[in-house]
Every structure is written in structure tokens, then in C-alpha cells.
């Protein structure tokens, strides 16, 4: 049984993003015109405002830019995981994309900590984006 934590509600722009996460991949919209990456998913490129976007996988790695530790469960469902850390991660492909997600590794957090996306399948349509620390010395 899926635990009763709040589920994302995908829309027609974001559905492929959530399906990719369900399959274990981080895919973002890539612009065929200017080559810019866009996140969160939307109908228009964040670089050139064009509309010729296609879904492509990214490496799924990045660096922690900032982080917070939640010590209170704002819903009963979150009580099982407090305290939990949310990392704001700047992905390697593009410096202006910051993706927040739970950092599931039990490590000391600092700016620049290398992380990798670790999606978890919730349903066929929705995966959860988590971040895990990359052990030192690994790419």
C-alpha cells in the first residue's frame, strides 16, 4: 500500500516529467531552437520563449545550493519522516535551474555537496524526485 503522503497533481505540461520519474529518469524540456533547458515543465522555453520543446534525459547530477531541515510535520503523513532535509539542487546542465527535493542520504550537508537524482516509483504515472549524496571520489 502506498503511504498516504500527498501526491503531486500532474497537468498536461508536466505529465511526461512525472512518468519519466516513475521510470527512474529525470527528464527536462530541451529547446530545439536555443538549446536551453526548462524546469518546472511548462509550454514555453525559459531561454527564448519559443514553443519547440522536447523531453530529454539529463545526467541527473548536481550540487546542493541551499538546504533546510524540516522539524515539524505539517501533515500527519509526514510525521514518519521528520526531521527531513530538503535540498535545493543546481543541476549540472544549467546554472539557473534549482530543483528542490528530499535529500535521503544521512550525510553532513554543505553547499557544493554532489548529489544524484534517485527517483522512486509511486504509480505508473508518478515518480517521486529524491536526491542522494554521491560518495566522494565518484563522478
Amino acid at each position: 500500500m502506498v503511504e498516504r503522503r500527498l501526491m503531486p497533481v500532474p497537468d498536461r505540461d508536466s505529465a511526461p516529467y512525472w512518468v519519466a520519474l516513475a521510470k527512474g529518469a529525470l527528464e527536462l524540456q530541451h529547446c530545439r531552437e536555443c538549446g536551453h533547458w526548462t524546469w518546472p515543465p511548462r509550454p514555453v522555453c525559459s531561454g527564448c520563449q519559443g514553443e519547440r520543446l522536447e523531453w530529454q534525459p539529463v545526467r541527473g547530477t548536481g550540487e546542493v545550493y541551499s538546504w533546510v531541515v524540516a522539524h515539524r510535520a505539517y501533515t500527519p503523513e509526514l510525521a514518519a519522516i521528520v526531521p527531513y532535509t530538503i535540498a535545493l539542487v543546481r543541476i549540472d546542465e544549467q546554472a539557473d535551474i534549482y530543483i528542490p527535493g528530499r535529500l535521503t542520504s544521512d550525510v553532513e550537508v554543505y553547499r557544493g555537496l554532489r548529489v544524484r537524482v534517485a527517483p522512486e516509483r509511486l504509480t505508473d504515472e508518478i515518480g517521486e524526485l529524491n536526491w542522494t549524496a554521491i560518495p566522494k571520489g565518484r563522478p
Binding site: 525559459s46 524540516a70 522539524h71 519522516i81 527531513y84 530538503i86
Partner: protein, 390 residues
């Protein structure tokens, strides 16, 4: 296209009203709104029949202008505004009411905010509806990234990493707010606190402690906006809306935003000063939106009172102290200690101060006030007004 300009000083706040601020009002937001609205109209020396517009904001958690107007016997409401979102639009509502009376499409507009923010729909997110959440919520909800405290703390951390800002600096803002609330009869929190109390308070959204966070409050505030000309013949010193600005902040969509440590208040600051024709040096006192301590710090930078990183020294020097400082700040104790009426209580306090009716809280120089809304995080909206005594 000519230069954009705000109808400077053409509209004024003529009346203010509020309810008790509490943890459990025991009544509906409808009843709270009625009480505050009637009090504001009475304070202005006006009658219900003088009112032809209402403006409010919120997150589907309060009584609507149409219901309020009809209930008060106002059958021909000529203007209204019901804006979604919270403190990031608190003063866009006031600014737009000022535009409406300046343009002559309404005579007297009551701006109000009524909420049972503690006893009914709490602001910490625990009662957040999943039916129609804001667009960006799908990218936060599963990570447990919903509480506003978490998102603002993320920016506070970025500021700490860049400027060496410490917990103690945020703590001094909490202590300052509490000191200003101690002798405020409206305030919910009147027990003095020390920096040690702050440092001992439990983590909520690390690096935020409990005392970094504002209160959750039941209550309502209303203000009457009319033309400056009409206000000058009413009961009190007219409080002119010298300038207002509302618009962009930063949210998840904001690609290209390089550093969360930069104050997102800067663009609104430039515009509100230009609208009012004043600068930071002309501000006598400020009521800055303080859902969390860090918001205050970032706005002091963003509104041009110091260079980035300069706030800790100003706090140590007592610059923001109500009685002796050169820039008295959150003279009522703010959202942190007076109560959380989503920023409308900042307007109430500023008007009392400008009129010279703040009693033992009265600041010495009280002609020009900067009042701000949430500085632009989360929703991607921000707002501010500059008020001046006629």
C-alpha cells in the same frame, strides 16, 4: 508610451478598524469582517451608505466582497477586488483601491482581511487544500516542501552562506519585534524575550527556529480608502497613499535568478520610491512584512537602507528601535509578535503612527511610512506602499 506614474497622493486612508487578535475568535470570518469594516467606517466618520467598493485577498479562506456588500445593505457596489494569495498581495489590494478612487470609479472603498488563521485554516499548510493547489505546488508537495517557513529558510541559508549572517542576527530581529509588542494592547505576544530565549527555541525549519516564525492568528483589519480631497474633511489627519507598487518577485519558474541571497524586494523598492517621489532617506519609520525574521533582514537591504550584509551592524546599533532608533521598524511588534492579519495590521499601525495616535508607542518622526508586503518569494508577487500624513 509615456513614463509610468502612480496618481501620487490622490487617494488617502480615512479610517481604520480591527477586531481582537486571538488564537480562537469563536466566530466566522464573516463576523470578523463585519466588525472590522464597521469599525473602520465609524472611525472615518462615514456611514455604510457612503461605501461603494470592497477589496480583499486570501486563499479561499474568508468572506467575499459580494456577500459582505449585500449584507451591509450596499446593493450597488461599483468596484471590488478579490485577489488570490496572501501577504504578497496585501498592499496591491490597497494600491489598486487607491487607483480606483483616483480614477473616480469608486468613492469609498473598504480594504479588509479577515481570517481564522489559527482556529480554522492554518497558515502552516496543514489545512492546505489539494483540490486546486497553485500551479507550482505539484513540484513541492511530495518533498514536503510546502510550509512557507521551509522556502524562506532556504533563502536565509543562502544569505548565511554568502554574507556570514548568523542565527543571532535573525534572533535580534525576533527580540526587537517582541520588545515593540510588549506595550501594545493589540499584540498576542507581550512577554519579553531575550536572545538566549531565541537560541533555545526549537527548530521548525532549520535554520529557522520557532521564534523566527510569525504567529497564526484569528482576526480582521479594515481600512477605508477615499479621495485625498474627501479625506481631508473627515475625522482624522488624512493618510495619503503617496505611492504604491506591486508585481514580480521570484518563484520556482524564475529561471535566470542567480542568487537567492539577493533581496527580491529590490525591483518593487525602486518602483515604490519612484511612485512616491521619495527615497530610503525620506522614510520616517517602516512596517516591513515579517512572516519570518529573515524577510525583515532581506527587505532592509532590498529597500535600500543598507548594503547587502549590513543589517547585523544596524541591529547592534539600535537603528530600528522604536523609541531611540533612526528608522523605527515594526513598531507594533509585527506579524512576529502582534499577530498575523496577513499584513493588513501593518497598515493599521502605520496609520495610527502617522496620525500621532499611537499613544505610548508613538514614534517621534511620523510623517512618511514605508509599508510592505511579502518580499516576493513563493508566490512570485510582491507589493509595497508609501504612506504620508497630509
Amino acid at each position: 508610451m509615456g513614463e509610468r506614474r502612480f496618481p501620487r497622493g490622490q487617494a488617502a486612508i480615512a479610517g481604520i478598524g480591527c477586531t481582537e487578535f486571538s488564537r480562537d475568535s469563536g466566530v466566522t470570518t464573516f463576523a470578523l469582517a463585519i466588525r472590522a469594516v464597521k469599525a473602520a467606517i465609524r472611525d472615518a466618520g462615514l456611514q455604510l451608505r457612503d461605501i461603494d467598493g470592497f477589496a480583499t485577498y486570501g486563499t479561499n479562506d474568508s468572506i467575499k466582497p459580494n456577500v459582505l456588500a449585500q449584507s451591509l445593505g450596499i446593493q450597488n457596489m461599483s468596484w471590488y477586488l478579490d485577489q488570490f494569495y496572501g501577504g504578497s498581495v496585501s498592499l496591491s489590494v490597497l494600491g489598486q483601491a487607491a487607483l480606483a478612487v483616483s480614477a473616480g470609479v469608486a468613492d469609498c472603498i473598504v480594504c479588509y482581511r479577515a481570517l481564522n488563521g489559527r482556529s480554522e485554516i492554518r497558515m502552516n499548510g496543514s489545512n492546505m487544500s489539494v483540490q486546486r493547489p497553485p500551479w507550482d505546488m505539484q513540484f513541492k508537495v511530495r518533498s514536503g516542501y510546502i510550509m512557507p517557513a521551509l522556502e524562506i529558510a532556504m533563502a536565509a541559508r543562502a544569505h548565511m552562506l554568502r554574507f556570514g549572517t548568523r542565527s543571532e542576527d535573525l534572533g535580534r530581529i525576533a527580540v526587537l519585534s517582541r520588545r515593540h509588542a510588549v506595550d501594545n494592547e493589540r499584540a498576542m505576544m507581550r512577554q519579553p524575550i531575550t536572545l538566549d530565549d531565541y537560541l533555545a527555541s526549537p527548530w521548525i525549519a532549520e535554520p529557522f527556529r520557532k521564534l523566527d516564525c510569525c504567529l497564526e492568528t484569528d482576526g480582521a483589519v479594515a481600512v477605508v480608502v477615499t479621495s485625498a480631497e474627501r479625506a481631508k474633511n473627515l475625522a482624522h489627519r488624512a493618510v495619503l497613499v503617496q505611492g504604491a507598487a506591486w508585481g514580480g518577485g521570484i518563484n520556482l519558474v524564475n529561471n535566470g535568478y542567480a542568487d537567492y541571497a539577493d533581496s527580491p524586494a529590490k525591483p518593487i523598492a525602486e518602483r515604490v520610491y519612484r511612485a512616491a517621489g521619495v527615497g530610503p532617506g525620506d522614510i520616517d519609520f517602516a512596517e516591513l512584512y515579517d512572516c519570518f525574521t529573515y524577510n525583515v533582514l532581506s527587505q532592509i537591504e532590498g529597500y535600500g537602507f543598507c548594503e547587502a550584509g549590513g543589517v547585523p551592524a544596524m541591529l547592534s546599533d539600535g537603528v530600528f528601535d522604536r523609541a531611540t532608533g533612526s528608522l523605527p521598524l515594526n513598531t507594533h511588534g509585527g506579524l512576529l509578535s502582534e499577530g498575523y492579519i496577513h499584513g493588513m495590521n501593518h497598515v493599521y499601525e502605520a496609520v495610527q503612527q502617522i496620525r500621532g495616535e499611537a499613544d505610548h508607542r508613538q514614534v517621534k518622526k511620523h510623517d512618511v511610512a514605508l509599508v510592505t508586503g511579502q518580499l516576493g518569494y513563493i508566490s512570485g508577487y510582491s507589493c509595497a506602499v508609501i504612506l504620508a500624513g497630509a
